[in-house]
Subunit: 298 residues, 4 copies
């Protein structure tokens, strides 16, 4: 079963799909080990680990490299956050071919302008791309994909840009008509009211996805009740890693001995396990067994 089929299957069989945010292959593997359904290769988190602003600075090549590493390390599907699609419809078309060829199961593209408006030059207005132009990108993505199970998630920022509920619904419908396979409805409110209103008024037939970074008090049970099919915990892994590293580095620099550092560290063995050092040893033993069978070793 391909990664794309796995994602489709869990979407149709589970009440809600839980997606854990990751920014490199190790964090992706930890998402898998901790039994999430899928991995979110988030552009904010990946930009952060490159110490670069989340402002269309990193290139598609760089993001794709990270997502490919995740795909090659994990069994569960990888969903790639592809921002605005790295340009216009032709860029989206190229991007979809590359991501699909790499084994990524789904991409998410959003209806902001690229590159992010330089807000001060433009008097701070956070404008969206016109519906027509974003529909053109969805069509480009739909035409570029080969496997029907490859998912195009259309993310609308209409609520965040302050364009209102009707615009958000209108756009979501337009994106579904154009060929999107899911709608990510984003909100920066600190409660889920807006999301719930959207889901109640939504009469489309494709799944809804949410990212509750700004409304963390929402319960999974509530999301399920409101017909949300996928929830993305985008950046919590990044934020605890940041915090833990800040503390330990500060402590190391303050103390005389590493043994005085209070921070909890995983053992070297935990990490050997994750990076498959033991697996490489097993592979070596398997090869040795084969060499014995073939008469090269006794």
């Amino acid at each position: 079963m391909s990664n794309m089929e796995i994602l489709q299957k869990i979407l149709s069989s589970k009440s809600i799909v839980k997606v854990g945010g990751a920014f490199d292959a190790m964090s992706a593997k930890l998402v898998e080990i901790n039994e999430f359904d899928a991995i979110w290769a988030g552009s904010f988190a990946i930009s952060a680990t490159h110490a670069l602003p989340d402002a269309s600075i990193m290139t598609m090549t760089e993001f794709l490299g990270v997502a490919t590493n995740m795909v090659e390390s994990c069994e569960i599907p990888v969903i790639a956050d592809c921002d605005t699609g790295f340009g216009g419809p032709s860029n989206v078309s190229h991007m979809v071919k590359k991501y699909e060829n790499a084994g990524v199961a789904a991409v998410s593209i959003e209806d902001k302008t690229f590159p992010k408006q330089n807000s001060l030059l433009e008097n701070g207005k956070q404008e969206l791309l016109s519906e027509k132009e974003f529909v053109a990108k969805i069509i480009a993505a739909r035409e570029a994909k080969k496997d029907k199970n490859f998912m195009i998630i259309a993310r609308t920022e209409a609520l965040i840009a302050g364009m209102g509920m009707d615009e958000a619904l209108k756009r979501a419908n337009a994106y579904e008509n154009a060929g999107a396979n899911a709608i990510l409805i984003h909100s920066k409110k600190n409660d889920p009211s807006e999301i719930f209103e959207f889901s109640e008024k939504w009469d489309g037939s494709i799944p809804l996805v949410v990212v509750p970074t700004s409304y963390p008090s929402v319960g999974v049970d509530e999301l399920i009740k409101h017909k949300i099919k996928m929830v993305v915990y985008a950046n919590q892994s990044l934020r605890v890693a940041y915090n833990a590293m800040s503390r330990v580095l500060n402590e190391i620099n303050q103390t005389n001995r590493l043994t005085d550092v209070k921070e909890n560290m995983s053992t070297m063995q935990d990490i050997f396990q994750l990076q498959e050092m033991y697996n490489i040893k097993k592979e070596e033993r398997d090869i040795e067994e084969e060499l014995k069978k073939l008469g090269y070793l006794k």
Copy 2:
């Protein structure tokens, strides 16, 4: 002042140089923020974040990419752990040119065989490269470098391979004669006795470097007393990040609400700060100012 000059300067002016381990640009930046003198781009940690064994599996291109990101994000020097130099003398020569061109201040190469001996096939013997062959690599590195301040750190695994103190000293001397600019003396003992014995018997004139992963109870004061000029805290940042991420992902999957998660997270603002989101805004304002001066904005 170039990165290479900065590293030379702190080596000559400080009692001991403290180097913090990092595996991507964010962790490198946290090393810088927490006032270490330099960054260790460690191959174990970088392999781990790629979920790949630390066994010469990742390529020079991949390691160099990570080190380049660090150089471009940080002001303090980056020291790249280059394992065995990715092959023979010609590979080392090529590697030194690439790393120096990228702005890395120092590389460390070690006297193990490449690729790591398949220990089971070879009856588990952890053999070192012959002294002659490793000296050939140091000569290749020395001839390839352009900037005299670029440092070649020769790491001997003689103690770890059980070849004894005399062999370790003999090799360290040979490596200095061949052109190494520092000796990294490695030990897997859980106390620093071996390291201290080495440093007492060492009569070379280039600095000694240690990585106290296996003897964390050693004090910085003791290292200084024993003429160690550089200490590398190679993987503590990785290990706390791993641990914190494991915990938070497990909690998220167990609880209904993100607000029930106990783990300490950095704020989004902390991360915006590190990735220079505010700097990009400042750059935008500066450009706006210039545009005003030039009459394009009022």
Copy 3:
């Protein structure tokens, strides 16, 4: 039908499979346009275009990047020349996973040591890897591949290393037993006698592959008669490109006007065609049509 299946199909249906050498996506596309059956992503040619020696200097990442570009640009299968497999069995295992995931149809690995012996240091002996060690690599490759149609081509340099016909046959048999899917028998003689002797004595059941760089007078009809199933024209495209570019650059620098340059150039339109500039325009028209249907344009 996957790239791997296509390659298997032409191997079983054609009297001989013709493979054209390429070093980037454009040369690969020219191989396709000129109706070869498959593309050889040759390490000599790729190294040459990077102005780097063909001596295990370029990394797997770099070679894989080139091969991936070819796969994404062409319909016919890509066969990747992977030298010695970039290290030991663990490197081969990793490499096979990466190449297969990228859509490459076959890889070729050869039984030389890695990195190439520094011939002067080693008194100029061009030693092969022991049969056992190369068999270990083939086992690693076989275990790493997922698609049964993915081909592992084992290339023996036994004749080139002067080890004789019996050794070449013994190794070829051993490689087949270990799981190789084809044997590339290489010769540096300036006639095909050695190759023909090999093919007559060969009683294995997997296909034979040749690269007649050093014996260019051999006829395709003769190869077919001698049970060769695949012929690789590895570097002729590179060598004519080199020659043509040398001439034109020399002429440009000697003459006053570009119009005085005698060299035949393709038109810009030829190149637009190859790089799918017209296709991008067609995609734009298709999107426009869709936008009209959806009511966004009139």
Copy 4:
């Protein structure tokens, strides 16, 4: 002397600087061998060799990788054609840091919109970026560069977009005021009249650059007479390579024997020379000499 200083020096000392187009390290090296003053890493040619449209499809990472290979292989300066700067001012700022760190001597950015307008969707209009927005990019580039000798070449497409001579001159002046170090004035006319008119009316103090692809009959003597300081032969090497490869591949597929192929090929030795196979052998001998001196060999 740095690459940047070399470029400045030849600009001030030669009557005209001749720049040869290249698309990989080998073609760059051939430009150098044939005694051009500098290398043009052209986006059209590089896109073509990736079999991708010249339409902002390839990423900065990919273009930078090619330019870096050129820098590391050649002694003469590399000038990178960076299209529109890969986005807005923040992208330009990031790009300049990356290219300068890689040792590129100059970048060229042009005043078209990014990504290239989808001409059919937009009724085929080839619009330029507003002067203000392009000036913002130049300011961003100027502020990002560290070495004062690093050159920012501002390319105006005003004549190509049909905006007239006055607009072209007005923009060129504005770009110089904003910090550009040279103006590339582009024309698609099949004679140089437009270019000559521009150069006569131009009263700026920074050098003028031309790319006579569409007016190949112009003489170098005429360019010099019209105060042009740099001429770029952007794609002739690509076009002869394309043509020669097409012919040879066609011939190989038609004939029975390679020896029947008429095309002129370079020898393997020519290519060994370019890729420094002999240099690697020399390095080996040098290391051997050193090892003898140190007593490791007799």
